[in-house]
Structure formats: C-alpha cells, structure tokens
C-alpha cells in the first residue's frame, strides 16, 4: 500500500508525471512544441512555478519579486561556468544556494509585512535588483547585453582536470554530454521530476499542513503555539531556491544571463502561470507554465502566410476575412489572446485550469457515494487536491 510513506494515488500521480515529462518530445510534437528549446522552457518554468506555488499556493503570500531569484540563479550559474567548470552540476548547485541566500535576505525583511504591503516590498526589491543589474552592476552582469561566456574565461576546475575546449566557445556539458538540444531537455526534465517529487512530499507533509495553516489563520496558529514567521520564511526560501535552480538551468541550456529576467513583468509571469494552472494544486503551476510558454513561442510565430494555409479550405473572400480576424489574436497579437485567456479563466474557472479538469472529470465520473468513508480510505492522506 505504501512505499516511502507515499500512498498509491500519489505514486501514480508521480509516475504519470514523470512519464509525460520524459515522453515530452513525442507527446508535444503534434502541437508543434516538441522541439528542445520549448521543452526545456516547459521544464524550467515548470520548476519556477512549482516553487512559487509552495509560497503562494500554500501560505498565500503573493510575491511580486520572484524573478529576482531567477535572475540571480542565472548570473550565479554563468559565473560558475566562467570561473569553475562547464559541468552543469556545480552551476546548478551554486545557483540554488545563492538563490536561497538571496531569498532569505529579501524574505526576512519582506515577511515583516503581510498582504499587499508584502507584495510591494518584494516588488521593490526585485525592481531595484533589475535596475541595478541593467546599469550600475554591469561589471558583474554585463548589463543589457547579458552575461556571456568568453574563450579566455579561467574555468579553474576544468583547467585543473586538464580539460581544454580549444578555440571554440565552450557550451556546458555533463561529463561529455552536450547540454543543448534533447540532452539538455532531459537534464531539465529530470530536475523537474525531482522538484515535483519534493513538492509532492512537502504538500503531503505536516510542514505543508502548517503552510496551509499560515494562509488560513495566522492568529490561530500563534495561539496554537506555532511561530508563523519562520514557516513563511522557510517557504519563501524554498521557493527562492526553486527559482534559483530554474535560473541556473536557463543558463545551463543557454549560457547567457540577461537582466530582463528580473523585471517585474517576469515576476508577474510566474504569478500568472500559477494562478492560470491553479494555485495550491500540485500539477496546476506546471500546466500554467506550459500554456504561457506555448503561447509565447508558438502563437507569436503564426503569420499571415500560415493563417492563409490554415484557412485555405474556405472560399477566398471568407478565407481573407478569417485571416484578418484571426491575425488579431496570433503573431503580433499574441498578447491579446493571453490577456483574454486570463480574463476568461478567472471569470469562469477561478481555480485555474485544474478546476476545469476537475469539472470535466466530474461530468464523466459520478462521485463515489459516501465520500471517503468506504474501504481503504483510512490510508488516504489528508484531503489534498492534486
């Protein structure tokens, strides 16, 4: 019934998730998303959103500054490449640690306030980081151009191990496997699976329960002998580490770190991913991240030619009209579709896409009578929406 403390349903969820992730190149190619870069982005932003969900979905603290940790992770990883080694392992370890330290500092100050005051504090810190990275901190960040590798980087560890990349610009590789293309995706995919597993454990654990309690009633928590601040701070740091890792992976698959990763719009994006998918659910944020990245990369690429082909079965005038109308929503109009999608989701599916799936499932599967009272339910974990 149980293995490593997890019950059957959770194992099915986890294994299903892993299989879908690893089969990504096949599953997503019919919708035009089966190429390495987008798959990498799915996995990386999935990690980012999973981490953000641990903070926002569980404790309810709405941070508007998480992009800062993503950016710090990227810078750390690129610097690790430059100074130590092109192996991605040290890079992501440092990215995660630095992301965690940075979030500890910002979280410690920001968590002195709650509600929108907290949100604005995190936003302010992230915007300061962004503005400084873009200009004054250029020696560290290389400003607008972004931090890049160069041929004459020291790479102390690689040199010590006698590795020489010759005259070409090195790219990161895991013991000889190049981290671009599909191998890069599998590296990110495995990280996503690990992060999902950790997230699953947190959701089902007493710690996760405490984080939900923080969201539900801080007053009662205090009078129950629980100190809320360290719980919220831990969640903040964990999500900062997830963000740092995601930033590190961005640099692993593409060794360039730009300041705009830290802009408030990037912080807003992860909020939108999480809410779009379903805040507080396990799978939702990953799905939300996928949907937004899909729109950004695929919808924006539709141009009039593609549309004309798509509607070529129609008579010419009708085809023309259809192309005109739909071109408002794709290509350069992809933002419009995204905005409209946010509105529709929030108006009709406040629980995000996960709620939509639940509703669809409920249409087909009638609810088991008597709820959880029947056989084997003693082993189900505390009711948590997956």
């Amino acid at each position: 019934m149980r293995f490593m403390g997890m019950n059957k349903q959770d194992w099915i969820l986890f294994i299903g998730f892993s299989v879908v992730t690893l089969l990504g190149p096949i599953i997503f190619s019919p919708i035009g998303a089966g190429y390495p870069d987008l798959l990498q982005k799915f996995a990386i932003y999935g990690i980012f959103a999973l981490g953000f969900n641990i903070l926002f979905g569980l404790t309810g603290y709405l941070s508007f500054g998480h992009a800062a940790f993503l950016g710090v992770g990227s810078y750390t990883a690129v610097w690790t490449f430059k100074l130590l080694s092109m192996n991605p392992i040290p890079a992501i370890i440092f990215a995660t640690i630095i992301g965690g330290l940075f979030s500890a500092a910002i979280g410690f100050i920001s968590l002195r306030r709650t509600g929108i005051y907290f949100s604005i504090l995190t936003l302010a810190f992230a915007q300061m980081s962004y503005n400084l990275a873009y200009s004054v901190l250029t020696p560290i960040t290389n400003g607008e151009t972004g931090l890049q590798l160069t041929q004459d980087d020291p790479r102390a560890l690689d040199v010590a191990l006698g590795r020489d990349y010759g005259a070409v610009l090195p790219s990161s590789d895991l013991f000889g496997i190049d981290m671009t293309g599909y191998p890069g995706f599998y590296f990110c995919g495995v990280m996503l699976i690990i992060c999902f597993f950790i997230s699953l454990r947190i959701f089902r654990s007493p710690f996760g329960m405490m984080l939900r309690a923080v969201k539900s009633n801080q007053n009662r928590m205090n009078y129950t002998g629980l100190n809320t601040r360290p719980y919220a701070l831990t969640a903040f740091i964990i999500s900062g580490m997830y963000a740092g890792l995601a930033g590190g992976l961005l640099a692993v698959t593409d060794p360039l770190a730009g300041a705009e990763r830290m802009q408030w719009t990037a912080s807003g994006e992860v909020v939108l991913m999480t809410i779009l998918g379903g805040a507080g659910t396990l799978l939702g944020p990953v799905i939300g991240a996928g949907v937004i990245k899909y729109f950004e990369n695929i919808f924006s690429a539709f141009n009039d030619n593609i549309l004309e082909q798509a509607f070529s079965f129609l008579p010419e005038t009708l085809q023309h009209i259809m192309v005109q109308v739909s071109s408002l929503f794709v290509g350069e109009g992809w933002h419009l579709t995204l905005g409209a999608l946010f509105m529709l989701i929030v108006i009709f599916l406040p629980g995000g896409l996960m709620e939509g799936m639940r509703r669809i499932r409920n249409l087909f599967v009638s609810k088991p009578p008597g709820g959880t009272g029947s056989g084997g339910s003693a082993d189900t974990p505390v009711q948590n929406p997956a």
């Binding site: 403390g5 710690f207 009662r220 205090n222 002998g225």
Partner: protein
Amino acid sequence: MSILNIVDLNKSFGGLRALSNVNLSIDKASVHAIIGPNGAGKSTLLNCFVGRLEPDTGSVTFDGKSLLGIKPHEINQLGVSRVFQTPEIFGDLTVLDNVMIPGFARRDGAFRINAWNPVRRKGPIAEKAMAMLKDVDLDDKADQIAGQLSRGDKRRLELAMCVVQDPKLLLLDEPTAGMSRADTNKTIELMQTIAKRGVTMVVIEHDMHVVFSLAHKISVLAQGTVIAEDLPEKIKGDPRVQEAYLGGAHL
C-alpha cells in the same frame, strides 16, 4: 497550590482605566470563572495572559514563569491554550487537520521543518485527534472543510483544538455564547469531562447556568477591579455582586 498568579495588574487605554490593581490566583486543576457586566474588563484581563496585550504594571506568572513580554506562541508552548469568543479555526482546512495541527505543535514545538514524511491517518497524533473529535461529536465530519461547519460545530472544534494539546491551563472566552440550550448542555458536559482530567480552566461567561455548573471558584470583575472572589454558593448571595451585576436584582 496556584498555577497562575496575577499581582497588581493595571492597564489603561488612553485615559480609560480598564484594569486597576487586579489580583487573582488560580488553583491548579480547578475551574475558575470570571464574571462581570459588559465592559468590566474581562476580555482585557484574558488578553493580558496570552501576550495579546501588555499590561502597564503588575505581573502575571504561570507555573513560576512570567508571561509578560513573550509572544503568544511561546505562551502556548508553556501550556496555555485559549478559546476565543468568535471561533478562530483554520477555515480552509479539514476538521481533522484542524485538530492535528495542535498535535504537531505540541510534539514538534513552535517551528520544525517536517517536510518529508506525509501526514498519515495512523500514528499517535492522528489517532488522538480522531479520539478528540469523537469526544466533541465531530468524528463523522472529519473530512469536511472546517469553514463550512455550523457555528456551534466550529466552537466545539476550537475547543477540541485546544484540549487536544493537553494544556495545563485552558482559557475560555464565553464558550457557549450564541449556542442553543441543547448545545450548551453538551458543551458543559464536555468541559466537565475535561476538568476531570485535571486541566485548569479559566472561564469568562455570561450564562450563569454554565458558570454554576462548572466553576469551583468565581471572581467578579466590575469596572476593572475584582470586587469579589469566592466559592460559587457564596458569590450567589453576595450583595455587592448583585449590585454590580444587575443593579440589585437577584441572580
């Protein structure tokens, strides 16, 4: 042998004197009721025990330790639990979760990252929580979301959340306010069982039926001072109390 000692407690809000020179001593394993008309300072007094308000002068000692200047969660960890006038529960969580959280708080202290092993329905904390829910007749609603319970159920749930911690001192702020007579009686029974386990209780209550069925000792607060403190039967006849309480009418 007293567990809670309050000495010369004073608290003013602006010019208003809410508490003046309050002295109280609560015996271990007793039920001590504090009664008094509205605005007498009962809730202010309670808030001074649990770190919600800081008194101007005076001392509050529990089990030999001062309760002043420390945070609510630290006071709770010393063994003081509190039931609020309007139920404070975790509305988004299930009823069972609500009762398990205090269990974890008792086992793990104010903060512990226990993030790897899942919460299970087996094991001492869950079993104790279920037993507690049975005591308050909520065991069949264990999987409901607590926020959807009726008001009376919420109050009993909050009581369960406090009792499951095995507190040394339980503070109750009008535990039966707004309850039906039947519910009130059930609650009285429940509190009597708890009292029998040796839990010290301080009850603020308006309902004299509740007070006299539970209290071993009663203090009467009026205009911020204790005007009487005695056994229930003596308080009943005390003219000062009747004067303060009902302007002379008999209880």
